[in-house]
Each structure stands twice: as structure tokens, then as C-alpha cells.
């Protein structure tokens, strides 16, 4: 097989060598439990706290307000359920958007079953939440607004600062799922009035199975996982020390040359988009044209279905993803693509290519070349394309 061209960095990323190197000693040399009082334990404790500090610095928070979790989904579940149950007496209304990750949406559905009311804010054709609707939805019962920082499918970045301001004015907690944003965008929780923020290391060249929730002091929140006194009694469980160390190193690397990395990514991204538009007809770009994640490309190829596109790309050694129903085992295509107004049949033909630090210009050009061939081939098999040609 050809060398792999990995363009699914929004799904997950490889662990960078520097990150893995930092982690390694903590598996079998510095393996102590951070809660233990002997030296081997203190070594682990110091490593955990150093990582916490690195993460905190990055988002302009205090180290003691960073709480490690097993990943983005746990952080999302914790923020929502933790705040909901702890503030039930204050109110039972939560506001979120229609394009959140399932980690948020399914948790909201769960909370609805538990008697909470949830408002799902609409987005415009670019995937930006309707701020007027958001403002109007706030009632005396509203305890939490949860709006993602950047969308995982279409890459659109939300007006977080305005949302933070609205939430602050109304005295409502503001949580943001920043799983796709952290490591890729500069974030200052104070400047943006963020009360809680979810992150996951494997989206920025850190390991899988580790993430964190930032919780502003004063936020009333129940633990999701009770037990031992780890994480200041807020999240029980023996710390995943190598994971935590890896997350710290990864976030440090991510912000070291952020602008440089992003400029490169944006250039590659826009090159790919431009070339696709020049060489393939019946395509649409999903998400905001400029206000999007540096590495995110999301394009619909009409008349073909996403899974067969992905399989064909895989045969050429290219890894991407799709919002097609067929790739998720559900009947409907991506809720995000539907929310921005795409018809089902077009949403089925979406392709997300998410670029990362290891992609090159040559790869971009190769991918476009292959896309041209593959799209032509699949369209030649498609009864839908046939009809369009007839009309022409």
C-alpha cells in the first residue's frame, strides 16, 4: 500500500515522539501512585502537578482549577450533569446548540429524562449560533449555557466572547466544549468569561484516554465519579500519570509555535479547497469560509455517498471522515450538516479532511488528484448523477 496520508486529525492524532518520550518513564520506572507518601509517589505527584500547571498557564487559569478526566466525553458529561444536579434548586433549564458533539447532546437528552428542560439553539448556514435566540431563551430558570468552541465536523468557530458576555450578564454558568479548539486556538478563560471548558489530549498529539475540565472557582458542581480524594475530591480514581504527563507536554508543544503551525495549516487547507473547487463540479464547502479551524475542510460532493468515498480514498492510502449516515451506523446523516440546512441526500455526500502538523503540500495535491478520479468514478455509477446529466 501507498504511504498513509492521514487527514483525519479531528478524529484523533498520533502521539508526538517528544510527548511519548516524556510519558515512557511513568509506565514502569516512575510508576508510583501520586497519593502515596513515599518518594516514588511524590515523583508522580510532582509530574501530575507540573502538567496541571502547563495546562492552566495555556488557558490563563490557575492550576488548582484544572481537573483531569478520561477525555472529552467525560468532561462534557461532568460539566452538564454535575452542574445540573448541583443547581437543581436554582433552576432546571439548560441552553445548548443544535450542532454540539454527542457528548453534549446525548447528555442533554439524559437530563431531559431526569426532568430538566433543554433549549437547542439554531445555527445559520455557516454553523454559527443565533445569538438573539440565545439571549431570548434565557429565563430565571436557566442555570447553564453550553456552546462548543469550534465544531468538530465543519470547523466553525463560535462567537465565544459574546456568549461569555451574555452568560455573565445574566449570571448563568457558561460551559464550552473546546475539545476541537484546545491546542489549535488561543484561549483565555478570563477574557472569554468561560466558567467551564472541556478538553481531550488526543486531539492535539497527546494520548487517548486523558482529558480535563477547567472549573472556575465558585462554580457549584457535583462530582461525576466519586471515591478517593484525588483531584481535590472532585474526580476520584488513581491518576493516569503517563497520560497526564503526555497531555501536559502535548499542550506545551501545541502552543509553542501556534501561529506558525496555523499559518501553514490554513495555507494547506485553502489550497485543498481551492483545487477541489477548480477541478470538481457540484461541490459545496460546509462551515464558515474563514472563521473555521485552521485544519478543517468539509465539502459535499453531490450525487455520491460519503462512505464509498471514504473507502475509495482508503484504497489510495488516504484517511478522512464523513457525515454520512453509513459511517455512523444510524439512518440520518450528521445532525450538524442538517442543522446548517443541507438536504439529507447532499449531507450523505460529505467529506471531512482535517489537516494536521504532519501534512504536506504534496499530500494535498495528491489527495485532490485522487479525489477527482474517485468522484468521477462514483458519479459514473450514480443514478442521481445520471439524472443531472440528462437535465444539462
Amino acid at each position: 500500500m501507498t504511504k498513509l496520508i492521514y487527514m483525519d486529525n479531528s478524529a484523533t492524532t498520533p502521539v508526538k515522539q517528544e510527548v511519548l518520550d516524556e510519558m515512557l518513564p511513568y509506565f514502569n520506572i516512575k510508576y508510583g501512585n501520586p497519593s502515596s507518601i513515599y518518594s516514588l509517589g511524590s515523583t508522580s505527584k510532582v509530574a501530575v502537578e507540573t502538567s496541571r500547571e502547563k495546562i492552566a498557564t495555556t488557558i490563563n487559569a490557575n492550576a488548582k482549577d484544572i481537573f483531569f478526566t478520561a477525555g472529552g466525553s467525560e468532561a462534557d458529561n461532568w460539566a452538564l450533569k454535575g452542574v445540573a444536579f448541583a443547581n437543581r434548586k436554582k433552576g432546571n433549564h439548560i441552553i445548548t446548540s443544535k450542532i454540539e458533539h454527542h457528548g453534549i447532546l446525548h447528555t442533554c437528552e439524559y437530563l431531559e429524562k431526569q426532568g430538566f428542560k433543554v433549549t437547542y439553539i439554531d445555527v445559520d448556514e455557516y454553523g454559527i449560533v443565533d445569538l438573539n435566540q440565545l439571549k431570548k431563551s434565557i429565563t430565571d430558570e436557566t442555570i447553564l449555557i453550553s456552546i462548543m468552541f469550534a465544531n468538530n465536523e465543519i470547523g466553525t468557530i463560535q462567537p465565544i466572547k459574546e456568549i461569555g458576555r451574555i452568560a455573565k450578564e445574566k449570571g448563568v454558568y457558561f460551559h464550552t466544549d473546546a475539545v476541537q479548539a484546545i491546542g489549535h486556538i488561543k484561549i483565555d478563560v478570563d477574557e472569554l468569561n468561560i466558567d467551564m471548558l472541556s478538553m481531550a489530549a488526543h486531539k492535539f498529539y497527546g494520548p487517548k484516554g486523558i482529558g480535563a475540565l477547567y472549573i472556575r472557582p465558585g462554580v457549584k458542581i457535583d462530582p461525576l465519579i466519586s471515591g478517593g480524594g484525588q483531584e481535590r475530591n472532585r474526580r476520584a480514581g488513581t491518576e493516569n500519570v503517563p497520560g497526564i504527563v503526555g497531555m501536559g507536554k502535548a499542550i506545551e508543544l501545541a502552543y509553542e509555535n501556534l501561529d506558525e503551525h496555523n499559518n501553514k495549516l490554513i495555507e494547506l487547507r485553502d489550497r485543498l479547497i481551492k483545487k477541489v473547487f477548480e477541478s470538481i463540479d457540484y461541490v459545496r464547502l460546509n462551515g464558515h469560509p474563514t472563521n473555521r479551524l485552521p485544519g478543517n475542510i468539509n465539502i459535499c460532493f453531490e450525487f455520491i455517498e460519503g462512505e464509498s468515498l471514504l473507502l475509495s480514498l482508503d484504497m489510495e492510502g488516504i484517511a478522512g471522515s464523513s457525515g454520512s449516515a453509513c459511517t455512523s451506523g444510524t439512518l440520518d446523516p450528521s445532525h450538524v450538516l442538517l442543522a446548517i440546512g443541507l438536504p439529507h441526500e447532499i449531507a450523505h455526500g460529505s467529506l471531512r479532511l482535517s489537516l494536521g502538523d504532519f501534512n504536506t503540500k504534496d499530500e494535498v495535491d495528491y489527495v485532490v488528484e485522487k479525489l477527482v478520479e474517485i468522484v468521477a468514478r462514483l458519479r459514473s455509477m450514480s443514478p442521481l448523477y445520471e439524472k443531472v446529466k440528462e437535465v444539462k
Binding site: S308, L311, M315, H344, M381, S382, Y385
Partner: protein, 140 residues
């Protein structure tokens, strides 16, 4: 996820295309659901002498179409009628459970094309009496 057989048929689908002046044309599926299969039959003396398909859909939909056309090519109408979705899936060395509906679609596409043939030529085909095109293959 897919068997080698599925991937082979996806890579090199047999009988892709259209038949001009086909004797029977069937189209099943719904673009909303992400899959449409269209099948063209050339029938002479109760025998399917040629078959072509066009499919909008996932890998297993394309592979199922390809396999189904192979299975009925050169067969009598009666033989074609006896082909079930399970037979198509089996011939592909199996399909993932969530993809079984693709083989159902293939079976339906054959039947739908035969129904078209039977209507156009006013012939009766055993087993098509209660063929229900509106049945949702995703339920399978």
C-alpha cells in the same frame, strides 16, 4: 469491517451501467437515506441475458448491487426470483449487521425490475404478488 469479497466487488463492480431499451428497470431506495439502486434487465425467453446497475450508496450497497447482478445474469426469471437478500449477503462472505439492509435493497431492486418487466409485458411472475416496494429495507 467488510469482507475481502465485499471490498473486491466495491473496487471492481461487475455490470455497472445502463441498458438502453431495457426490458425491465427497477429503482429502489431513497436518497434521503443515502442509498438508491437502479437495475436494468434485458430479458429473452424468460432468461435474464443482460443486467446492469447504477447505485448511489455506501460500499456494501455497491458491492451488493454488483453481486446481485452477477447472481441473476443468465438465470431464468424464476431463478432470479428465488434469490434472497441473505443469499446475496452470503455470496459476499457476509455483511456487517448494520449493512444487511443493502442486501435487502439488492433483492428489492431485482424484484422491482422484474415487476416493471411483468407490467410492461403483461406477464405474470410468481412471487411478485405481494412484493411491497414501500417496505423499508432499514428495518431488516
Amino acid at each position: 469491517m467488510y469482507s475481502e469479497k465485499v471490498m473486491e466487488h466495491f473496487k471492481n463492480p461487475r455490470n455497472v451501467g445502463e441498458i438502453e431499451n431495457a426490458d425491465g428497470i427497477g429503482e429502489v431506495g431513497n436518497p434521503r437515506c443515502g442509498d438508491i439502486m437502479k437495475m436494468y434487465l434485458k430479458i429473452e425467453d424468460e432468461v435474464i441475458v443482460d443486467v446492469k446497475f447504477k447505485t448511489f450508496g455506501c460500499g456494501s450497497a455497491i458491492a451488493s448491487s454488483s453481486m446481485a447482478t452477477e447472481m441473476i445474469k443468465g438465470k431464468t426469471i424464476e431463478e432470479a426470483m428465488s434469490i434472497t437478500n441473505k443469499a446475496v449477503a452470503k455470496a459476499l462472505d457476509g455483511l456487517p449487521p448494520v449493512k444487511m439492509h443493502c442486501s435487502v435493497l439488492a433483492e428489492q431492486a431485482i424484484k422491482s425490475a422484474l415487476l416493471d418487466y411483468s407490467k410492461k409485458n403483461n406477464v405474470h411472475i410468481d412471487g411478485l404478488e405481494d412484493f411491497d416496494l414501500t417496505e423499508d429495507p432499514h428495518e431488516h
